[in-house]
Amino acid sequence: MGKEFKRIVPVVSMLLIAALTGCSGGSNKPSATVSTDSAAPLRIQMMSQFESAEPPTADNPIVKYIEQQTNTKLDITWVLNSNYTDKLNVTMASGDLPQVMLVVNPQDTVIVSAAQSGFFWDVEPYLKDYPNLSKLDIDTLNNTRINGKIYGLYRGRYPERVVMYYRKDWLDNAGIKEPPKTVDDYYNAIKAFTLNDPDKNGKQDTWGITENKDLGTYTFPLLFGAPNGWGYINNQVIPDFMTNEYMDYLKFMKKLYDEKIINQDFATVPGAKVSEDWTSGKIGIRGNIVEAYRGETFVGLGKTLPGADVHIIPALVSTTGQKRVAKGSGFLGMYMFPKSSVKTEEDLKKILSFFDKMADDKMVKTVMLGIDGVHYKEENGVQKILDETNYNKEVVPVQHLAMRMDLVNNGTPLAKEAADTLEEIKQYGVADVSHGLILSVESKKKLSTNKKIIDDAKIKFIMGVIDEAGWGKEIENWKQSGGADVVKEYTELYNKYKK
């Protein structure tokens, strides 16, 4: 019998262990009440995200600094960005809500309907009482509105920020004297970068630009006079692809494709490929946000590609004669406050005053760059990162806490170009009139189902599978299968909120 016993013991003990690990950590967190003692640090439960390869550690110095400056005790659940929406949904379903929720896309059906049924605090009436929050940009605030109400604090981004980066050394090698100014110049540069061997390796293995299946590189319909996303034209809010200018854009792309001066496999290429092509020296032009100049791929390109000389073109002159730059919504996600966990107005005010301090210039800088003297050093307006490794380990993981993203001056020539560019393109912004207008669930459904029709038609047109008449048919198809209703609803919303 002893023998059997020996065999059974491991199994039984294993089950026991399983049962124990199952029950031990049953996270008995203190309930979500805000401490009332004014001297004691205010306890705030937050759900935020991180995007780095490492999460913030428990004793992260930036978080400690924030706590100390704001007299708070932050209890932050850091969620990986890649499954943030899932986590948000299950958290909302479980009813176990933090006091502060970072909502990356406030237009999500779930969030919108929650807001509409009074799930979140309307913060608009309180903003005026806080020195920094009262200075929040009104256009951006308007873009965050859900049915006319402001249900949270946005994390600010420059509205105009997408610019064109190019390789000056390639331009020289290809025999082009001036950086492109117009769409025609742009076309010539793309052609020369493909055919004139700008990397001087004797092989025709480069492109001006490489496109991807999302058609997301620098070539935008805006350059041909089309609206940015949705435009208000002839008393109607219509999508860019319904305009004639959009056809000019498509024809331009088709020309690039037919002349084989753009990658022929773009229809299958994922968006990330652009970065890879750029860093490996396969392309000489790409678009990106202006703040990204600081990244390895721009300032640091010389390391991987000796001689690479990167510059910025703020904006091209579009075929209609003006410079046009896409104006974004001005924010990326917002902090929202569920009423079920922030029970009283008083609690809300305390939390808002925390965010007021977070929106302070000095604090924004700390969250982005770290502690002055430890992670970075500022001299004459130039901010130098002291230790990259340390910066990546301690600062980058918490950057999602930043209330806005400011341009950093790292002292390189490109930094100056970036700063000038940022200043210049403000005036060229073309807004998307649909920003801040929230469609009904029905229309949203139609829009997302129909998106495929147009996405597919674009690529088919460029590749010559359908012609202009075929394109017209696809547009008609889009309208028929719900698109017309969306146009109607957007127009009504526009007349109601924006006119």
């Binding site: 199952g22 031990s24 390869a53 490492e54 659940t77 960005n81 479980s94 490996s280």
Partner: protein, 292 residues
């Protein structure tokens, strides 16, 4: 014996060996390119589309991987989950499969229906989350070990394996005064080593590759298995300008070699498990002689 083989048989053998060689080659080459690529200097790797032999041999990727706090630790977590989880799987699956293989058990059929039905219908993400939460398993390893404790699929396999075992041995054991639990551990499991070994491998691989449960049920990043970081690194390198409005500007995507290195680090340990289980497959031969 070879002397007796016919000419046709020899041709067949050569063709067979050759085809299998080809098959092995095709399956392994892309992975090998990934391994060699991970040892290339990062700068060099960017320039080339693939690496057969690293031009400048470099451990930079691995040095980075093992300098992070997360990856080496998560590898340990994964090993723990795999070992503990598989042990639980095998114990519970064989415990349940044994009575189900016994034809005189009246509840056999309803229980089997219960099992099969659960293969086809499931409640979905949110209800399952609520069950795990209500059991107090959130943020514990239990959330990674228990929700998948028995696979209906593997249970059916094992049950069917048990059915075909000869009854004579069980009967004689019963005459010796063994109860059913003893029969299971003393006779049935030793006789079923090929099946148990295979299930062990399947379960272990399932645990090794799991990340969905971790993403949903675990908040504490120190409890994340390595697959979470593998995906994070792969996903991080997949953002382009199309997403720039959402791109977090400070984050520099990890290099290509790091990506390849993490793939290697997260794959090789589980690959090493197989040879240890393989001998049990060979033991299946013994089963035949017992069956006589």
């Amino acid at each position: 014996m070879d002397m007796n083989r016919s000419w046709g048989s020899k041709v067949f053998d050569s063709a067979n060996y050759f085809l299998l060689f080809l098959m092995a080659l095709i399956t392994i080459v892309p992975f090998l390119l990934n391994v060699t690529g991970s040892f290339e200097a990062p700068v060099e790797a960017l320039r080339k589309s693939f690496v057969i032999f690293p031009k400048t041999f470099s451990l930079a990727a691995y040095r980075y991987i093992f300098s992070t706090n997360t990856i080496p630790h998560s590898l340990l977590v994964t090993i723990f989950i795999t070992v503990a989880g598989t042990a639980i799987n095998i114990a519970l699956t064989s415990l349940m499969a044994f009575p189900l293989a016994n034809k005189r058990l009246r509840v056999r059929k309803p229980v089997m229906l219960l099992v099969i039905f659960s293969m086809l219908f499931s409640g979905g993400m949110i209800p399952t989350y609520l069950v795990v939460k209500n059991l107090g398993l959130l943020d514990t390893y239990g959330a990674l070990l228990l929700p998948g404790a028995i696979s209906a699929f593997f249970l059916i396999i094992l049950k069917n394996f048990f059915i075909q075992l000869p009854d004579e041995l069980e009967d004689s054991a019963r005459i010796d005064g063994c109860n059913d639990l003893q029969i299971l551990f003393r006779i049935v499991i030793p006789l079923s080593m090929p099946a148990i070994a295979t299930l062990t491998l399947f379960y272990a691989v399932g645990h090794w590759n799991q990340f969905l449960n971790a993403l949903l049920y675990i908040n504490d990043a120190s409890k994340f298995p390595i697959q979470v970081w593998l995906r994070q690194i792969v996903l991080l390198s997949q953002t382009g300008i199309g997403d720039s409005a959402n791109n977090f500007e400070g984050v520099i995507p990890p290099g290509k070699t790091i990506q390849m290195g993490v793939t290697v680090v997260s794959t090789v340990p589980i690959l090493l498990v197989y040879p240890f289980l393989q001998r049990h497959f060979a033991k299946g031969v013994l089963l035949g002689s017992v069956k006589e």
